[in-house]
């Protein structure tokens, strides 16, 4: 049985919704009633059936609509996809990884056939059937990274590893939480993390870099990150701040449940075999408050997390303006009873 792909939008009339099954599989990021940074990295191994970790590269009911939204973003702003000249080989690595994983997890939707370097890729949801020569960019309509990331949910940063550091030297970034590939391209790990508050003082980035530069082939890792977004807008980029920034002033007690979305990023880290680079997929999941609070445990816990969040973090995540309204709304769903351990709903 295949996935039923939704017809929906992430802009204008914002018809994005999660089905009841997708609400229950939402990767809720809080395992306790409080939040603080930690190097919360764990091995990226297959998780329970019916969760977003059932496959290492997740494809869900929003796939087709997300790919259409990505095409719209790229048509307006081609610089959302960039690859420095030395990163083409890493692009082929990524193409192989995503084709293999999508075909493995969803054989009813994707098929990869290989005969030496002659490859055939069938993507049924998007109506694609292409035969090409692996390693020969002239046989694809785009460069290898752009080709495959126009067909894969989530943003992708490809990091070159050299001089004991990681360098943001290629990427496809259209569903980002207020950062810009065009600004960060060519930067190293410390440079592109410079704006993050508190974490530098805790030595988090030094330790994280040491971990990431030692990621081994066949042993990917993952972590969750989160923020909030007003309206289910995938493209909350600095380039388009004028379109989404003002949304934050529109939250009222009446529309919190519909407008305020928890935005969770499932970030994974993979060593690329030919280029020795690292690919960093950032997969964005959105859920509106009305959907989230259908799980009472999540409602109680989110109330406590947002209420007690340190001011610097609330500012960095852009919640300041509507936090009181949101906390007031969530407080009505928090009877003060204990929450069970772990991420999942009760």
């Amino acid at each position: 049985m295949g996935i039923t792909f939704r017809k929906e939008t992430f802009r204008d009339d914002f018809t994005f919704r999660n089905s009841p099954e997708h609400i229950r599989r939402f990767p809720f990021p809080f395992h306790e009633d409080a939040y603080m940074y930690a190097v919360n990295i764990e091995p990226h191994v297959v998780g329970p059936k019916g969760s977003v970790l059932e496959n290492l590269i997740d494809v869900d009911e929003h796939y087709v609509a997300e790919m259409q939204d990505r095409a719209l973003v790229l048509a307006e702003d081609p610089l959302r996809c960039q690859s420095l000249p030395h990163m083409t080989l890493a692009g082929w690595d990524l193409l192989e990884l995503l084709m293999e994983q999508q075909a493995l997890g969803y054989p009813e939707h994707f098929t990869l056939t290989r005969d030496g370097d002659r490859w055939r890729w069938i993507n049924r949801p998007l109506g694609i059937d292409d035969t090409f020569t692996f390693g020969d960019t002239s046989t694809l309509p785009y460069g290898p990274m752009e080709y495959i990331t126009r067909q894969s949910q989530g943003d992708f940063c490809i990091l070159d590893q050299r001089d004991g550091n990681l360098w943001m030297d290629a990427g496809m970034v259209t569903t980002q939480a207020d950062w810009s590939l065009d600004f960060d391209i060519g930067m190293n790990f410390f440079e592109w993390h410079a704006p993050v508050p508190l974490a530098h003082e805790k030595g988090i980035f030094t330790r994280a870099l040491k971990f990431l530069t030692n990621i081994q082939q066949g042993k990917p890792a993952r972590r969750l990150n989160w923020t909030m977004t007003i309206n289910p807008r995938l493209d909350t980029s600095p380039e388009n701040y004028h379109k989404w920034g003002p949304d934050r002033t529109t939250v009222t007690p009446e529309n919190v449940g519909d407008k305020v979305h928890l935005r969770v990023e499932l970030q994974s880290f993979w060593r690329l075999p030919r280029s020795n680079g690292i690919v960093f997929p950032i997969r964005c999941y959105l859920i509106k408050m009305d959907e989230l609070v259908t799980q009472p445990k999540w409602a109680r816990r989110l109330h406590r997390v947002i209420r007690d969040l340190p001011e610097e973090l609330a500012t960095y995540k852009g919640l300041t303006r509507y936090r009181p309204t949101l906390v007031e709304w969530l407080s009505k769903l928090d009877d003060g009873s204990a929450t069970s351990p772990g991420f999942g709903p009760d």
């Binding site: 070159d160 590893q161 050299r162 030692n214 082939q217 066949g218 890792a221 030919r274 020795n276």
Partner: protein, 321 residues
């Protein structure tokens, strides 16, 4: 978080003597599948089960990264080493089932380079076998200068000359041929990256001359082949796990720790990656540091040791393991 890398179950598919010192070993997967793709400069750690002893030694992959039906490594026989190379030469025959690690690359090409200038000494040629194959496949610009003792010990020199012709320059010690290093380093186009693999003396010489001639350190890449050295046996207390162990003459400290059932993380087993760095709680004696990871200050302080290659002589050593 994890010890070492994922393991691969392989079978020795061929053993080919190359010259009087070097033998080439071929591995295939036991399940008949393709091996993982790798990048030029990568190594695998080979587990050698020799009776009740297990040695783990790293070897550069030297086949083409474009062909993953098999991996090939070359082992130079070391008659005064710890016995790993002798085991490979004497006991490893086609059909033997072995376990190797996934490939790890600590000596990768800088793909920004406009030109790759490679300097190899002796068995240090092996990572360049894969790197030249990778670059040739992509139309990359490289030049390899290879020094060896005699023509008959010039492992793979003939293969390289045949594949790449004038891009390979050979220097034979017995004919008094020497790389004119200063001239070579002074006449490279901008954007050239320099790679050197060979004996420690050669690496130090090349790095020193490159620095003196104004090469940026980011453009100079090197791989030490620091095999663990044998030495006097010594006793060690592992404070965290509450064990006391003896390190034999032919065993590395890391192997002795592993034999006691304690598994520190590792990647290179050659003193360069830093994974197995271990804190010293107390000691009475002297360290024999052989690594390229710790600073001189660390070595003097007596607070840290790299158990993959370094040893100890004295009355007592207590480690935080």
């Amino acid at each position: 978080m994890s010890t070492g890398t994922t393991k691969l179950d392989v079978v020795v598919s061929d053993v080919v003597p190359v010259n009087e010192l070097v033998t080439c070993f071929h591995f295939r997967r036991r399940d008949g599948e393709l091996l993982p793709t790798f990048s030029g400069g990568a190594h695998v750690v080979v587990e050698m089960r020799d009776g009740d002893r297990t040695r783990l030694n790293p070897y550069s992959l030297m086949g083409s990264p474009l062909d993953t039906r098999e991996y090939t490594i070359s082992v130079r026989r070391d008659d005064v080493g710890r016995g790993g190379s002798l085991f490979m030469h004497r006991s490893v025959k086609p059909g033997l089932e072995m376990v190797i690690s996934y490939p790890v690359n600590l000596f990768s090409l800088d793909l920004r380079a406009k030109k790759h200038l490679m300097l190899a000494g002796g068995i240090g040629i092996t990572p360049f076998m894969a790197q030249t194959a990778q670059l040739a496949g992509e139309g990359g610009n490289f030049e390899l200068h290879y020094t060896c003792r005699t023509a008959s010990l010039g492992t793979y020199a003939d293969v390289l000359r045949e594949r790449y012709d004038r891009r390979i320059r050979l220097y034979h010690d017995d004919r008094d041929e020497r790389i004119d290093l200063d001239r070579l380093l002074s006449t490279q186009p901008l954007g050239t990256h320099l790679y050197v693999c060979g004996p420690a003396g050669m690496i130090n010489w090349v790095r020193d001359r490159a620095a003196a001639l104004g090469w940026p350190s980011e453009a100079v890449h090197f791989e030490h082949f620091a095999a663990p050295q044998p030495g006097l046996p010594f006793d060690v207390t592992l404070a965290v796990s509450g064990k006391t162990i003896r390190v034999d003459e032919q065993q590395s400290l890391l192997e002795a720790i592993e034999a006691a059932g304690v598994d520190p993380p590792y990647l290179c087993r050659g003193g360069v990656c830093g994974q197995c760095e271990t804190n010293v709680i107390s000691y009475d004696g002297k360290f024999i540091h052989n690594d390229h990871w710790l600073s001189e200050e660390d070595h003097r302080s007596g607070c840290k040791i790299m158990p993959c290659v370094s040893r100890f002589e004295g009355r007592s050593l207590v480690l935080e393991r």
